[in-house]
Symmetry: C2
Subunit: 254 residues, 2 copies
DNA sequence: ATGTGGCCAGTAAGGCCGATT
DNA sequence: AATCGGCCTTACTGGCCACAT
């Protein structure tokens, strides 16, 4: 529920900013082939920073695009949370690649040759935040992916791109492994994008269809339709698989 | 004066955040050799975003680390400004390398073989911001570099690095070319870091000593001294080369 | 010793394409 | 025609080294 609430807020923020996002994304001059990556990162920041809740006085640096320690409103009160959002730009619309440092759950999956692939989580389940008063605070980690799916406009004239949709994924917390990846054959993970031949750092893929099957609301799509904008609500409840594990007060690090 | 005022504010923000900055920079685990780059970017963001002034409802995306359109307090009133800050992390402490997209002034300099090197500005002098009311607003562009100068700690034990100082440079606006780079032999620019042999995109260097000579206050240094923190003011007035060109109200794009 | 030039190296982040279902 | 696996390309950022003062 906590992750769901977070995802819902983020989707709404992205939606509200979607018109300008598409405008910027499509029309930004291609100063380099790298452009879309930077655009995605900036757009995520713009959309989310207006929606920030009670910030905590804690900063940390690292490889994740958007990250905030904050007090997040939850049904049962304010929850200390570390929100980690990674921006992706891609011409594919069925999967995302994660670095280990972006993986919140120990993953295992069946490889094509029948063997088992594994990748240990790189994102800790919580962060310990020193408190001025007494006990340190344990802030639960929440991992979100924002995936800008686009096509090139080959005419060479603006708009240079056509942003098709924005996928937003809530990657389950490591504690939810029992539910989402109890064994190598039950998972939404798949082989990574790295080249093992070149000894690159292993990566891993998240497949949209399988994540959606496991839990519909964890895969949201903001789809750009010609002549249609996002003034209307777009949250998709998915089915009613809402009995998400409650982390809040029962949550203590181990 | 406008750029000076801006630089002063930024230096102060960086200074206030310098203690935590050093802590994070020195101790962050080296998850990759790229780490310092990300650290520098994040630290600049953390330091500056608390000091933001009246934001303008305008966003743009691109290759610059920290960028804001805002109304900046100035002696004669509020000035529309586009602040562009680029974060650098380096083991050198005498120069910075700029991409063309970070260069606010058409640059020319004498090359070692006697010929003249040139690089056209990639940063526009101003941005036109559509106004709800009537005339568009022209926001002056201000380019700042924040350079984290560090050394490695080779013991392999934390702290992994030793942040020596933070240099903050105000790169003159393109309009000030007459003063700062009237001819190829009068400049703080120098040959870039690109490999011409490999046909890389040309870059250009800004040399600290020469910039300082041309205008002392444009090169500020926050130096970390053992056992000393930054509780005291550190703005260095430099000499009294304060007769900076006044852009404000006389400023209109051409 | 420093100041300059400039060749490379390491690290993302995806584009793509060929092999499978 | 989609789904996967995975090799390789591109660009970004500085580390570093060789000369020249």
């Amino acid at each position: 529920m906590f992750e769901k609430q977070t995802l819902r807020t983020i989707v709404q923020a992205l939606q509200q900013y979607s018109r300008e996002a598409k405008d910027i994304f499509d029309n930004a001059m291609a100063s380099s082939s790298n452009e879309v990556i930077v655009l995605a990162e900036d757009l995520v920041q713009y959309a989310l920073e207006v929606a920030e809740v009670f910030p905590m006085n804690k900063r940390f640096a690292g490889f994740i695009d958007y990250k905030r320690a904050r007090w997040s409103p939850f049904v049962s009160g304010l929850m200390p949370q570390v929100l980690l959002v990674d921006a992706k730009a891609s011409k594919e619309n069925n999967r995302d690649t994660l670095q280990r440092s972006q993986l919140p759950m120990d993953a295992e999956f069946r490889k094509s040759d029948g063997s088992i692939g594994k990748l240990a989580a790189g994102v800790p389940g919580h962060l310990e935040i020193p408190s001025a008063t007494s006990e340190p605070i344990y802030a639960v980690t929440t991992t979100i992916l924002v995936h800008y799916y686009y096509k090139d406009n080959l005419t060479g004239m603006p708009p240079f791109r056509d942003l098709q949709s924005i996928y937003v994924l809530a990657v389950p917390h490591g504690r939810l492994k029992d539910r989402y990846n109890p064994d190598p054959d039950t998972t939404f993970f798949g082989e990574g994008k790295h080249s093992s031949a070149r000894n690159e750092d292993p990566r891993i893929r998240v497949y949209f269809s399988r994540l959606k099957k496991a839990c519909p609301w964890r895969l949201q799509e903001l789809k750009f339709l010609p002549g249609h904008d996002f003034s209307s609500p777009r949250w998709r409840e998915g089915e009613s698989l809402e009995e998400e594990i409650l982390l809040p007060f029962s949550y203590l690090p181990r």
